[in-house]
């Protein structure tokens, strides 16, 4: 078994082109790796390209340049079925819990969708969904609820259950706690660290809150205007920031 990084990103670049407007480089030649079991944080202000990175890695948008290697497999140009297979290894938790579930389907439908797609029959899916919800701290009855019938925190728990349903190796949390209030944030973070330990998950934690990153991550990248301006162990970066932008970012919350 080759023990390499779960995720390697090489020179990843995304340029948005629009007629009549100058090109906009949202992500500018960034490279980083996520080791197995590691929790990598990405911080930066809005518009710094953090979410674009998440969308690029999950191939929801196509990169302009660069390479994405997931668990030893180059997924940069995968399409259709092959890409669907690659999704078994990575999943994402979105910023807006309620909007990340189809309003016309129950939470159980949403959580079980990937299981169904990978060939489980309905009774197995139901059993599995109940188990997953329990693992994420929700009673099994929640499978029958609709997304707007539950709170944001409960919905985010269901979203996490959906993300871990097919036992991915990498979990991408794109501002997964930003839309929740502080106490719920703590609960969700606690859930994520439990799951990380139990399932040996690697996590890419995208966040604008440096305190959360310090609490949760092993390594942090600071993004500014599409580039990585600084990286290091969160405590080090906070105590001794090198880059001007990082200094300003840290000063702004102290």
């Amino acid at each position: 078994m080759p023990v390499g990084p779960i995720l390697r990103v090489d020179n990843l670049t995304k340029v948005f082109t629009r007629k009549g407007q100058p090109d906009f480089t949202a992500v500018d030649h960034i490279s980083f790796e996520v080791e197995p079991g590691q929790c990598l944080g990405i911080i930066g202000e809005s518009g710094s390209g953090k979410s674009t990175v998440a969308n690029l890695i999950t191939r929801l948008i196509d990169p302009t340049e660069g390479q994405i290697v997931l668990d030893g497999e180059d997924i940069t140009r995968l399409k259709g079925r092959q890409l669907q297979t690659a999704y078994r290894k990575m999943q994402m938790v979105f910023q807006t819990p309620t909007e990340s579930f189809d309003p016309r389907h129950t939470l159980g439908d949403g959580v079980g969708e990937s299981l169904r797609n990978f060939g489980l029959d309905q009774s197995e899916v139901n059993r599995e969904v109940a188990e997953l919800l329990k693992q994420c701290g929700l009673p099994p009855e929640f499978a029958k609820r609709y997304p707007h019938q539950v709170s944001g925190g409960q919905c985010q728990r269901a979203a996490i259950a959906r993300a871990i349903a097919i036992q991915p190796k990498l979990l991408i949390c794109d501002e997964a706690t930003s839309a929740l209030d502080v106490t719920i944030q703590t609960e969700i973070l606690a859930l994520l660290s439990d799951l990380r330990r139990e399932l040996n998950l690697s996590i890419l934690f995208i966040c604008h809150d440096i305190a959360l990153v310090q609490q949760f991550c092993d390594w942090v990248l600071v993004m500014y205007k599409g580039s990585i301006v600084e990286e290091g162990v969160p405590d080090e970066v906070i105590r001794n920031p090198q880059n001007d932008y990082t200094k300003r970012l840290i000063e702004s919350i102290l």
Binding site: Y87, M92, P103, V150, S151
Partner: protein, 312 residues
């Protein structure tokens, strides 16, 4: 407790909407049933001529009187319902399906094909509808099929527009991205997530269009471009007998009344369906009926609602 008075009127409103939906639904169903079994409901043969009893005034034997060939008007109106109502339903179904398919395809696919198809639909939208239908039916020649075709040709762009804009707004939602990450392919995403979420406004539009289409189809028939005599069709029946309107008014009255009543029933049904699908009403009874995606309030409010929704 502060919330209670705000919720109650909405509930009541919803109940009346539901009652209206049931009433008009039943009426529409009766109309459709009547047209389905029309040949068993007619008191006389609608095509049987009896010149000795022509232009008879309404009486106990002939409630709507008879026309100039002595055919029983009531029977002809009942049989005509099959032509009128079924052609209309067929027409609306065809334009709904074609328009939706084109619209969803354009919205999902984007690019050059989208531009081309949308410019074509603009072209159709730029013409005044019925005039264009007249031209199409005129070129193709009369006949019910050609009238349906002509009306379909001018009516699909409206549906394509709605379906396209709805698809575009669905395309970027987080739950579609989540569905893709769950390994669902394009077909599955379109069928399971996009279609159920966009079909509401489209269905409402088509319900409201039934009345309009019925009028336009009858109009084309009236002008001699739709159903041809002796086929009983309300529009052509009115046209056939319009010369006699001053002397024997009941002959035009009967099919006119039939058009009026059925157009009204379908319009009211369409209105009610629209009210029922109102996103503001959806919040109180979600998942059951609402078509459009309602924006929810903040988390605390949502929890409040969840608690007070009880059993669901």
């Amino acid at each position: 407790m502060m919330k209670q008075p705000a919720i109650r009127p909405a509930r009541i409103r919803r109940d009346t909407v539901k009652a209206r939906l049931i009433i008009f639904g039943i009426l529409a169903a009766l109309l459709i049933l009547c047209s389905l079994f029309s040949e068993y409901l007619t008191p006389y043969d609608p095509y049987l001529q009896d010149l000795s009893n022509a232009k008879a005034a309404p009486s106990a034997q002939h409630i709507f009187g008879t026309d100039r060939y002595g055919r029983d008007m009531l029977s002809r109106v009942i049989v005509g319902s099959r032509t009128s109502i079924f052609s209309t339903l067929l027409l609306v179904a065809v334009i709904t399906v074609i328009g939706t398919v084109i619209g969803v395809f354009c919205g999902w696919h984007g690019g050059k094909i989208d531009t081309v198809l949308m410019r074509i639909s603009d072209m159709f939208l730029a013409f005044p509808g019925l005039v264009f239908a007249l031209a199409v039916a005129g070129v193709l020649g009369g006949g019910l099929h050609n009238a349906i075709f002509a009306l379909a040709a001018i009516s699909w762009p409206k549906y394509a527009r709605i379906a396209r804009s709805q698809t575009l707004s669905q395309k970027e939602t987080p739950y579609l991205r989540a569905a893709r990450l769950s390994g669902s392919g394009t077909v599955k995403i379109l069928a399971k997530h996009i279609l159920p979420n966009i079909i509401g406004p489209i269905l409402v539009t088509s319900m409201l269009d039934i009345g309009t289409m019925m009028m336009e189809l009858a109009g084309l028939s009236f002008l001699g471009l739709g159903a041809k005599p002796p086929i009983a069709e309300w529009g052509s029946m009115m046209s056939e007998n319009r010369a006699l309107m001053t002397t024997v008014p009941w002959i035009t009255m009967a099919p006119g009344l039939a058009i009026f009543v059925s157009v009204m029933i379908f319009n009211l049904l369409g209105d009610t369906v629209r009210d029922y699908a109102d996103p503001r009403a959806r919040q109180l009874c979600p998942g059951k009926a609402g078509f459009a995606k309602g924006k929810t309030g903040d988390g605390s409010n949502r929890r409040f609602e969840a608690r007070h929704r009880g059993g669901r």
